[in-house]
Amino acid sequence: MNIWSRFKQKTWSKWLDKRIPPAAKVKLHRHNIFILPSRFGAYYCLGAIALFLLGTNYQNNLIILLSMLLISIFASTMLLCYQNLAGLSLQANNQGESFAEQPLKVSCLLDAEKPKYGIELNYENEEHTVIQQVAGQQYCALRLGAKARGQYQLDRITVASVFPLGLFRAWSHIDLNQQVIVYPNPLSYKQVALIAANDEQGKRHALTQTGDHFSGLDSYHLGESLKRVAWKQVAQGKGMLTKQFEQTIGEPNWLDYDQIVAKDKEEKLSYLSYLTIELSKKNQPFGLVLPHSRVAVNRGETQRQRVLTTLALVRADHE
């Protein structure tokens, strides 16, 4: 097993890299399609040989003819199977966001001049996606199991098809040079630990109460500031509630790593991820403060991506 996996890593993948070099768009043709009889194809041949023997032993020309026909069908199917894959092009599609602990959202764009049938796509050791028919351009979501946050270079995709009769399997291992950044899994965070925009020196002041508009009451969570507890309601016997405030649009916020209350680092990052998403939903300007780096205040889709990427790439041994 060791020899095999070593061979696979070194020789095989090196050979593949040379044979089918990574590219954002790959068109399948005779240089990158492999084809071999499937297991059913092998049984089919055995069947044809058995019929030939039967025909010879009974001196029955019709049975011999049938076995020859079966062999001929086998041969022509090989070409059809190859042709079904040839001319199909795949293009990396880097849209879509992926979060840790959720199946990754990876897709590619298929394009074929002539219709193609029964195309199977999968990453190594991952689930298959079957597309019954490709005609013209179409997106195809690929399945990839959940991963921890970080940046990944994706494996080769196996594109395969047994069309038309299942006698042959034509396949190709293509590398679309896909990189995926897996953001921290967002966990909802009730205490809005936002930091008001500061003076030019960049000094930070933690504010327990964010914004200036009272928005409502929420149940008290452990770790929340006692200053925000609505004592009047406690006295009335309504339980521990905290006052919630809303930030007016346009006033920038700082998401501060140190201010997040969580049991470990990953959880903190998850909360930050959640807050980033929430803030961008409201289209508010915000920045990120990490112990060793910061992302300047901005807003919109780019800011969201920038912040989430920064969060995804925080080093694991980071204090």
Partner: protein, 662 residues
């Protein structure tokens, strides 16, 4: 795994069709309980598919399989090996309907169906069988396509499977014609079924009604001259033993001798007319073969028995073609020996006394054997004898009863009685069974002999002449010999009353007859050229194509054929010399542009952004870069099918302008 085919009504219907069809193909061979199991599993699958029954649980499944195995083992010995294998195949086919879980199972089902098609051909290889097989094969291809590509509509699937089939035909033809024809590798269990007008024994007194079959017995092609219709006595069996009721072959006739060389015939009788002809015998599962007078054949697998008939070394289970030569009227090469004479005079004692008495009287009047024969024949002619296919049964002394009482019967009655009379008179005599006549087909030039042409007649030994053929039936019903059975019976009796569907029954209607003759022509060509294709035919073909045959020439021929077929397959499947697509070309052009610009492009940077950056750095070629970028994007981000040559030319023009500026 892709399982959508299991929920697809079309694929279930196809599977059920395929199974029922192969069951119908093997209807006569399959055991009755196989059909019951099939119906059970098919209906379960249908109801399960409709959601009306539950899954078969493990115990049920186990007990069904077990009972099938038990039934197969119990019925095995009585059915024989071949039929047991057929039943096993069909049972496996039926049980697969319960076990359809994965794609693999459906593939196995398709494979079994193909094997069944092949096995069904063992039991019949006429055109109709070939057509049924073709339907089964195409349906199986449809099923396979449906499993692999459920997105296709059934009409498209049918078109595709027909296309795959027809495109494979040239290769099939080449393989079939050039593949070495092997002799059987090992002995296979024989097939027990026969519908022939002949049998190796005959007891006329016990047959109340002779069943007629319009099936073809054999076809004959003559080289050169054809014999007259009254000469067409196709000898198959000689019966020399008589036990009082039944005529049968003597054990001696099973012995064989090497057939004499054809040229000895002309040496013996240079002046007499001789005929050379080829016979294609239809499968009879018997060893007897047919020939005129004393037939001689040098073919492998054909032997000659001591009584002067031909037989095959193995039962004829597939159409068999052989070449024969005969001399008109020549029946004897060597004088009769003593043992043979005794055999042909032997009579059971103390039977048919009335006949024996009558013969004794006749003998006193006619001393010369020829005169005696004439007298007996005259008796048949003058007394009210009647030719019928549905005679009365005969009593204990069958010959007495026939000659003096019932006086009706078919050929076997007359032949049997005549031989008995001759033997009583001391003239060696025997009964010959075979076929008489046949139907000429002038278009293609062959003679078809059907099972209803079966006939029986006599041969008597006359010193100085040898064996001489005598046909007592001809005395009663001369048209039987000159015009055939059909016209003999005419409207009086119901010809082929057993088979309503037989076309031969309706041959009085002209267009039905025309249809029947055309079908017979096709059938003849089919047996002659396809079923009869053997080593010799292969040699002839190769000699015709190559002249003198040697290994190099054959190799070259095979290579040429394969190359031509490979090209044809490649062309059909859409394989063309691949030109670079416009996208690939534009990629290459872009790379040259990058090289000319001399600005390195980071791998992650899209082409568009890269060009924008360069344009900012070099404002003097900004316009050209923008134009190139625009054309480039048009080609890169359009659907493959929509890119035109115009787009490509525009891009080239833009690149040219850009290069000029640099």
């Amino acid at each position: 795994m892709n399982k959508s085919w299991l929920a697809n009504q079309y694929s279930i219907v196809l599977m059920i069709f395929i199974h029922s069809f192969s069951l119908l193909l093997l209807w006569q061979e399959a055991a009755w309980w196989v059909a019951i199991i099939s119906i059970g599993t098919i209906s379960w699958r249908w109801l399960y598919f409709k959601g009306q029954v539950l899954k078969v649980n493990r115990w049920w499944h186990f007990s069904i399989v077990l009972s099938c195995i038990i039934l197969l083992t119990i019925t095995g010995p009585s059915h024989g090996l071949l039929l047991t294998m057929v039943n096993l195949l069909l049972v496996g086919f039926a049980l697969k309907f319960i076990e359809l879980y994965q794609q693999r199972d459906a593939f196995i089902l398709a494979l079994i169906s193909i094997l069944t098609a092949g096995v069904a051909l063992v039991f019949g290889s006429e055109i109709k069988h070939a057509i049924f097989n073709l339907i089964l094969l195409i349906a199986t291809l449809c099923l396979l396509i449906n499993i692999c590509a459920p997105a296709l509509k059934w009409r498209q699937q049918l078109t595709l499977s027909t296309k795959i089939f027809s495109v494979s035909l040239p290769l099939t033809a080449v393989l079939f014609l050039l593949m070495p024809q092997l002799s059987p590798l090992w002995q296979m269990p024989s097939i027990k079924q026969a519908t022939t007008g002949l049998s190796d024994n005959m007891s006329p007194g016990d047959i109340a009604s002779l069943t007629q079959s319009s099936e073809l017995a054999f076809s004959v092609t003559f080289d050169g001259e054809r014999p007259l219709p009254q000469e067409l006595y196709w000898r198959a069996l000689v019966m020399e033993s008589f036990d009082g009721r039944r005529w049968s072959q003597s054990p001696v006739s099973k012995l064989w001798q090497r057939s004499l060389a054809n040229n000895t015939l002309t040496e013996i009788s240079p002046t007499m007319k001789s005929f050379n002809y080829q016979i294609i015998a239809k499968p009879s599962n018997q060893q007897w073969l047919f020939g005129l007078a004393l037939p001689l054949s040098n073919d492998n697998g054909v032997r000659q028995s001591f009584d002067g008939t031909l037989f095959a070394t193995k039962p004829v289970v597939t159409p068999m073609q052989y070449t024969v030569s005969s001399v008109q009227g020549l029946m004897t090469l060597a004088p009769i020996n003593n043992r043979s004479r005794l055999r042909n005079l032997a009579l059971p004692e103390q039977t048919n006394l009335k006949t024996q008495q009558w013969v004794a009287e006749l003998r006193q009047r006619h001393e010369h054997p020829q005169a005696l024969i004439n007298a007996v024949l005259a008796y048949f002619r003058q007394q009210p004898f009647y030719y019928t296919l549905t005679p009365k049964l005969l009593g204990q002394d069958s010959i007495d009863d026939f000659l003096f009482n019932t006086r009706e019967g078919f050929c076997a009655h007359y032949a049997s009685a005549f031989s008995f009379v001759m033997r009583s008179a001391g003239i060696p005599s025997r009964v010959v069974a075979g076929y008489q006549g046949g139907e000429w087909n002038d278009e293609v030039g062959y003679l078809n002999v059907y099972q209803y042409d079966a006939h029986a007649w006599n041969e008597v030994w006359l010193d100085g002449q040898g064996w001489v053929r005598v046909d007592p039936t001809a005395q009663v019903s001369p048209e039987r010999v000159t015009q055939g059975l059909v016209s003999t019976l005419g409207a009086e009796q119901d010809f082929l009353s057993g088979s309503v569907l037989s076309l031969a029954r309706y041959q009085h209607s002209p267009w039905v007859n025309q249809l029947r003759v055309s079908l017979a022509n096709i059938e003849y060509l089919w047996s002659r050229w396809l079923l009869g294709y053997d080593k010799e035919a292969q040699n002839d073909l190769l000699e015709y194509l190559l002249g003198e045959v040697n290994a190099t020439k054959i190799m070259v021929l095979i290579l040429i054929c394969l190359c031509v077929i490979a090209l044809w397959l490649a062309w059909f499947s859409g394989f063309r010399l691949q030109r670079k697509t416009y996208q690939q070309k534009s990629d290459e052009l872009f790379n040259t542009v990058v090289a000319k610009l001399g600005v390195k492009r980071p791998t992650h940077l899209p082409a568009y952004s890269y060009l924008q950056q360069v344009a900012q750095q070099r404002p003097h070629i900004k316009r050209e870069i923008a134009l190139f970028s625009c054309c480039f994007n048009q080609i890169q981000y359009q659907q493959c099918a929509e890119i035109t040559r115009q787009d490509w030319l525009k891009l080239k023009q833009a690149a040219k302008e850009l290069f000029d500026k640099i």
